[in-house]
């Protein structure tokens, strides 16, 4: 559809698509960040 989105269905198709991608990206990022955050704790005690 060149002329933009006319139906809720189309709108959801796009937004939900992005959201899924973001969610996956987020999860990966989360794990990485977690590691970074707790990286130094190992050698404590």
């Amino acid at each position: 559809m060149g002329e933009g989105i006319q139906t809720l269905q189309e709108f959801m198709k796009q937004t939900k698509g992005i959201l899924y991608l973001l969610a996956i990206a987020y999860f990966v990022g989360f794990v990485a960040f977690w590691k970074f955050l707790h990286g130094r704790e190992k050698n404590e005690d």
């Binding site: 269905q9 959801m12 198709k13 939900k16 698509g17 899924y20 999860f27 794990v31």
Partner: protein, 390 residues
């Protein structure tokens, strides 16, 4: 100890084995019919009732009852209830097999099974709740496989690989809980789009939450239930630690299940209030609903509680069974008995015996694999070489 396992071999031609064999043979024959005659040849499904026994039992019930995996994993690994550790591996195993059975059953139900990957690799229909269910089930299957793999690896003696995977345990557990939360609830959400077909007492904007919460109860009860069966059949495979903690597991999970059922009952009532469906309770369906709510939610909730207070293990075990029945009852209501409720009686769906046959076949396959694994791999006992684990 594994040696012990090896020495106690059942006779190959035991009654149960023969029985299993027969079922498997019939199942294979039905499979042949299904994949040569199409769905029409083996099911009573029609244009008004596109979903039937398989979706009801194998998908909805299967997934709900396989919830033991993530509930136990969460309890042990995340909430640090280490004393239930012995229950973890069996739970993971049944979870894994449960989901495998779900997928296996879907191969029968779906029109073109080889296209099952299409949603993810060819043409994603992201607006569909089923897309989410599919994605989560797929991922969770992988997660469960990894969570279970240490057992197999110990059996195979692949030490290094095992260590790598064990390190991932917590990550896998968290993924498992996330994915389960999503798809357990989404199985309910799938019906959000059909308010015009599902009876108002079962249809609710809350239905995803109903499914999620009830799945936890199902998972806990299922762990107890399976444990009971396991003790009956594989006592010889269990080490002292496993037997010692068995009682704790039953009590602890019974308590948990009781709590969850109470919550579940409450939000179900909220659901009725939300859509102001009190008046419907007087109708035939209303009474059916009350039967579900009182007979299969409130009653087990109360019996669990009593069992826990009296430390009455056998009562808890029975109640777990009742709860499992209740979950099946609920899922069947949603997908079958109270679905298309406005259709005239003669247009309603009743399963064909072959549908049931194939479901039985799928379950039997699962049970057989389960037996194969627990008789060989360190599920009920700790592998001597890996004492250091936890």
């Amino acid at each position: 100890m594994s040696g012990a396992a090896a020495t106690v071999r059942r006779p190959l031609l035991s009654l149960s084995n023969i029985f299993t064999g027969v079922i498997l043979l019939v199942g294979l024959w039905l499979t042949y019919l299904r994949f040569t005659g199409g769905l029409g040849a083996v099911t009573n499904l029609d244009h008004n009732n596109p979903w039937g026994f398989w979706i009801g039992l194998d998908l909805l019930c299967g997934v709900a009852l396989a919830a033991g995996g993530y509930t136990t994993a969460a309890a042990v690994e995340i909430f640090g209830m280490k004393k239930y550790h012995a229950a973890l591996r069996p739970a993971i195993l049944t979870g894994f097999l449960g989901y495998s059975m779900v997928v296996l059953a879907l191969l029968y139900d779906v029109g073109r099974p080889w296209r099952l990957p299409y949603p993810f690799f060819v043409s994603p229909g992201v607006t569909s709740v089923m897309f989410e269910v599919g994605a989560c089930v797929l991922l969770y299957l992988v997660v469960l496989f990894l969570e279970f793999s240490p057992v197999a690896l110990e059996w195979l003696g692949a030490k290094r690989l095992r260590r790598v995977i064990v390190r991932l345990t917590i990550l896998l557990t968290i993924m498992g809980v996330v994915l389960s939360t999503l798809h357990q609830s989404s199985l309910g959400a799938m019906f959000l789009i059909a308010p015009w077909k599902l009876h108002p007492l079962w249809y609710s904007p809350y239905i995803p939450i109903f499914f999620f919460v009830s799945s936890i109860a199902a998972g806990l009860s299922m762990v107890i239930f399976e444990g009971t069966l396991a003790h009956r059949n594989f006592e010889d495979k269990m080490d002292e630690e496993h037997k010692k903690t068995a009682a704790d597991v039953v009590l602890g999970f019974g308590k948990g299940a009781s709590m969850v059922l109470a919550v579940y009952f409450a939000i179900k009532v909220f659901g009725v209030a939300l859509d102001n469906e009190w008046s419907l309770l007087g109708t035939g369906y209303g009474l059916w609903f009350l039967l579900e709510m009182l007979g299969f939610v409130l009653l087990p909730c109360f019996l669990f509680a009593v069992g826990v207070r009296d430390r009455n293990l056998s009562l808890i075990r029975w109640t777990a069974f009742l709860t499992v029945i209740g979950i099946v009852f609920n899922r069947f209501n949603v997908v079958w008995l109270c679905f298309n409720w406005q259709l005239p009686w003669e247009q309603r769906y009743t399963p064909h015996w072959m549908e049931i046959g194939i479901s039985v076949f799928v379950i039997t396959v699962g049970v057989t694999v389960y037996r194969f694994i627990v008789t060989r791999m360190p599920v009920f006992y700790e592998h001597p070489d890996y004492k250091e684990a936890h």
